[in-house]
């Protein structure tokens, strides 16, 4: 399992680069590095469904980001400036919060099952009944489209809303004339 840790360290480095670099295109490429590492980790933890979706969604995400950045500007001019007082204050406050949050989360992580030994209380039933009740060989498809289909309906609603939101934000008709 050492490769999981290597990928996680790579992701942390890429994430720090993505937040701190001046060129926004480079930041988006670093974000893509994080996303594709997530896809590889999904394969390593035996989730091929998630890996397929993550790869294709990551490609589309980067295409949309690049389309937006190419139309506007690719320089983050806030990085070069001197730190203002409020920014230093925000960073210090965030550091305090992050340390407290980190300690709390580490304590909370002690209560969930350790890595590699998931308790399968609900899932055991789904695995046993998946083929006889739902009939699909892919148990993830059984869960999202048969046992928990209402989740998927809610997801479809959210996606529909976001499409309507983007189209309404981007349309030209009804905009105020300059």
């Amino acid at each position: 399992m050492i490769e999981l840790y290597l990928f996680l360290i790579f992701m942390l480095v890429a994430a720090i680069i993505a937040t701190e670099i001046k060129d926004l295109l480079a930041a988006v490429i670093s974000l893509g590095a994080v996303g594709f590492s997530v896809a590889i980790m999904f394969i390593l933890v035996q989730a091929p469904d998630l890996a397929i979706v993550q790869i294709v969604v990551e490609v589309l995400t980067i295409v949309i980001f690049v389309a937006v950045i190419l139309k506007t500007t690719h320089i983050d001019e806030t990085i070069a400036e001197k730190f203002s007082g409020t920014q230093v204050l925000a960073t210090v406050l965030y550091a305090v919060f992050a340390i407290l949050f980190f300690i709390a989360m580490v304590r909370a992580m002690n209560d969930i099952p350790p890595f590699g030994q998931a308790t399968m209380r609900v899932a055991g039933q789904y695995i046993r009944l998946g083929l006889p009740r739902a009939g699909g060989a892919n148990l993830v498809a059984d869960v999202i489209l048969d046992f928990r289909a209402l989740d998927t309906l809610g997801e479809a609603t959210v996606l529909f809303t976001s499409v309507i939101g983007v189209v309404a934000l981007m349309r030209k008709i009804g905009r105020r004339q300059k």
Partner: protein, 112 residues
């Protein structure tokens, strides 16, 4: 447990970008990082050592699979993440069209 802590660290980097950065694109990148970390944490919680991917290949065989429920939850969350990112980018584009900057401090000053 160490591997969960790494996911929390990734989450905190994303939150750092949202809270302290002044560039709108950087803030959206922070949201994307948080989404990755949470999705990854879910998939890692459902992992079992020595288990197979939850896909049945023979009808009567031993069922030694990883947990399919977190995978089903994350599967929908990944696509939603793309939708929310697109909405945020659309809002950022409109803001840039109006103020010609991504800096939220300058946007606050340029009212009207």
């Amino acid at each position: 447990m160490t591997i969960f802590v790494f996911c929390i660290a990734l989450f905190l980097i994303g939150l750092y970008a949202i809270v302290t950065k002044r560039n709108l694109i950087k803030i959206i990148i922070g949201f994307a990082l948080i989404e990755y970390s949470v999705n990854l944490l879910f998939a890692l919680i459902g992992f079992r050592r020595g288990a197979l991917a939850p896909i049945i290949t023979k009808v009567h065989s031993a069922h030694n699979f990883v947990d399919p429920i977190p995978q089903a939850l994350v599967l929908t969350a990944i696509v939603i993440a793309l939708g929310t990112t697109a909405v945020m980018l659309a809002i950022a584009l409109r803001i840039y069209e109006r103020y010609k900057t991504f800096d939220i401090a300058k946007i606050k000053k340029l009212k009207g």
